[in-house]
């Protein structure tokens, strides 16, 4: 079995799977159950300042269902922990003592004043937690109070608060980034400049997940009204993958550890995050959907996959896909593929045909051969867009095969149609 142990920003855990700061890591009861199930670490549900506890709404979550698949996307309008600070701190201390081999990071969100951070960091240190994660990401509720995403969207604040925290504590400081920015590098670089030991991303995406057509209010409906919420779950994975790859490719962020978050539900999802440079991954929605037991396949599946690829440790694949992430202008315009239909696997649904016919390049002929329906790719017309392969309901029935053109690779930079092309040497 491949070794999944990780050391991330000097925080050790037996596997890279952490629970993200959210309801699954809300209290000792959940966290202990998660550790028993095999989770490598948790980022405790975000703590705030001491004082009157946070108040939450009833009706907090909303979900996107697609074709009978529940919770493809998920949203919430919850705030940070609604439990008293000292209760959380006591539990954190106890759990860390009982589970010394697991990573226990404490998520924090306090007003943008150095004193507030100082006060809370000191109390967290006393729990012997392994590190802190600064929640600059929460897009709702807290941001109206000048915290969370309100800080995370302003690189100067990110840098400033990160620097304070680095000066105020010996604990590793992770900065959790909000995706609700036009360019993630602004806040990532700011965290790096502030001295962050790592970044975690993504937090939830600003969203309205749907509208209740009876009450005419957005979901989740709270007494006839609703507000925008934080979107997460499988549907946000592509956004998260892009953002971590941007950081992974950025020379200014070089060496900055990344904890990948967003839509991770299986070991495959995790492997993709690792391939784009994530050292650990965090999970929220999948655990909220299926419970902690999903960790079993995540751990098992990841090691089996590593074994099958001949790797004995996770590190071997971290960042392996990054060199292949590039800008469009560097792609080979002479690379040619066409769709191939495996006629034996084809169930004659016609979806490839209509997809290409109505919306792509009219390259799949609907034929009748001996009275049977038959679909054939017209190679000369096919632009190799992949659409039919994805529309086809039979796995592996349509594949895209390379057609050697005999031509040398040619990128847009050198392409004759490019008015700004660089003359070939």
């Amino acid at each position: 079995m491949a070794d999944l142990r990780t050391t991330f920003a000097s925080i050790k855990s037996p596997n890279p799977f952490w629970l993200a700061s959210a309801p699954p890591s809300d209290k000792a009861y959940n966290v202990v159950r998660a550790f028993k199930a095999g989770w490598g670490g948790v980022v405790w549900k975000t703590l705030g300042e001491d004082g009157p506890p946070i108040v939450n709404t009833a009706s907090r979550y909303g979900a996107l269902e697609v074709g009978g698949q529940r919770m493809v996307g998920f949203t919430n309008i919850e705030l940070i922990t609604d439990r008293p600070l000292q209760v959380n701190l006591d539990e954190i201390k106890q759990v860390k003592r009982d589970w010394p081999d697991r990573a226990l990071i404490v998520s924090l969100m306090v007003p943008c004043e150095e004193e507030s951070w100082k006060r809370i960091l000191k109390r967290v240190e006393e729990t012997n937690a392994d590190g802190v994660e600064l929640n600059f990401g929460c897009p709702h509720g807290m941001s109206e109070r000048g915290m969370g995403a309100a800080v995370g969207q302003v690189p100067e604040y990110v840098e400033m608060v990160t620097r304070w925290c680095k000066q105020l504590t010996r604990m590793p400081v992770l900065v959790k980034l909000t995706p609700n920015v036009t360019n993630i590098l602004g806040s990532a670089r700011a965290a790096k400049r502030g001295g962050a030991d790592g970044v975690s991303l993504i937090n939830t995406v600003n969203s309205i997940i749907g509208v209740d057509l009876d009450s005419m209010a957005p979901y989740p409906v709270v007494g006839g009204k609703g507000t925008h919420g934080g979107y997460c779950g499988p549907a946000v994975k592509p956004i998260a993958l892009h953002m971590i790859s941007e950081i992974g490719r950025d020379p200014e962020c070089a060496g900055l550890p990344i904890s990948g978050i967003g839509g991770i539900a299986t070991w495959r999802d995790a492997a993709e995050f690792h391939a784009l440079g994530a050292g650990t991954v965090q999970v929220c929605t999948a655990a909220m959907h299926y419970g902690f037991k999903i960790i079993d396949d995540m751990v098992d599946g990841l090691s089996n996959w590593l074994d099958a690829r001949g790797h004995d440790r996770l590190d071997a694949i971290v960042g392996r896909a990054l060199p292949n992430v590039t800008d469009w202008q560097h792609l080979d315009l002479n690379y040619k593929i066409v769709a191939r239909i495996d006629q034996d696997a084809c169930i004659k649904c016609g979806l490839c045909h209509i997809a290409c016919e109505d919306t792509s390049h009219q390259s799949i002929a609907a034929l009748k051969a001996n009275g049977e329906r038959r679909y054939e790719v017209i190679d000369q017309e096919c632009v190799g867009c992949n659409l039919c392969m994805y529309a086809c309901p039979v796995t592996g029935c349509i594949s895209m095969v390379e057609v050697p053109t005999g031509r040398k690779p040619l990128t847009w930079l050198e392409h004759p149609n490019n008015p700004l092309r660089q003359a070939a040497e």
Partner: protein, 449 residues
Amino acid sequence: MGDAGESAARRLSADELARNFADIHVPLDRERSLIEASRCYFCYDAPCQQACPTSIDIPGFIRKISTDNVKGAAVTILNENIMGGACARVCPVEVLCEQACVRESQEARPIQIGALQRYATDWLFERKLQPFTRAPSTGKRVAVVGAGPAGLACAHRLAMRGHDVTVYEARPKAGGLNEYGIAAYKVPDDFAQAEVAFILGIGGIKIEFGKALGRDISLSNLRRDFDAVFLGMGLAGVNALALEGEDMPGVMDAVGYIERLRQTADKGVLEIGRRVVVIGGGNTAIDIAVQAKRLGAEDVTIVYRRGPDHMGATWHEQELAQTNGVTIKHWARPLRIVAHQDRLKEVEFEYTQLDEQGRLMSTGDRFSLLADMLFKAIGQSFVPSPLGNGAAEPLELANGRIQVNADRKTSLANVWAGGDCVPGEDLTVSAIQDGKLAAESIDRNLRSA
């Protein structure tokens, strides 16, 4: 104990009978319909639709179910097939749409199209919605003979197009075999009459009951008095075994018996034997065998002269018979009906096989089955006498049925025909398609005249 006592099966209680003749299919509720609908791929130029004789836009209506647009789904179905509710219950989907479903080739588990169709149409019927309206009146009048699926489908489409329709029906009720012939557990709760009421709800259709062509009315008068005539009179004859003793007590025609079964208020009064033998291999043979069993018969045996693959009954229907405890004996044909005191006692059969040319022949071996009831279910035939052929302009027949072209037009000007009385599959759904096509053709004809 007297003879009758020995040969009659134990009387079932009213409860047992109610259970045995209740709906054979559990309808899908909304939850199950949504799950099933989500399995549909929304195929293009869908194979299921191509396999439906009435060309219902199946992917279209299933998608509407999946978005909870159930009314839209029902209307999509009824637009092509006004008896979509009956078809959802009686169509042999395993050889029609569901056999063609791509999920069948992919995973041997087709979309339950029939069940989804029922969900949508039931939804509309339960709400008593009438989605169809009539076009402005054309002032044209059409006569329809027979209020079966063919006649009613034709009448409905004609009424929709603005024509006035008079239906002449020999029997006291409308619905044809939906009312008199289909197995009771397929259309319980008086579904056939509810559907007839829905169809008539569009208006412009008048039914004259107890009026038989050839007895009370004649084709030549109808042609004279109406702008067009549609014949949908089904099959009035039953095939005979051509054996001696065919008329003796205990030997019955399956269709006639089912008609009584469908019409009786109390199934408990129907006589049914302890040992029942059914001869035939189609729908009707299965239906009578299963219903006999459900009425309380102890042993029911279907004897068919060829193999399982030759049976007109689908594999699904054969399975239904078997799970109901019916024995199916293949490769045997009846030789002799044996009586005891003028009543049926046993039936002697000979085993059959195919010779080198593929002709059916005897193997020479024989066996006998004790029987106190023998049902003949070897097919029905068209009886042309009511047409009054022999008149100046006879109606052309083809293979003993009324000859029609693709528009379901007969050899006579202004006469169309469809359903079981024309060549083709004897299925409810085909009869409906015939009626619909004929109506469209009549409409075009009347408008251009």
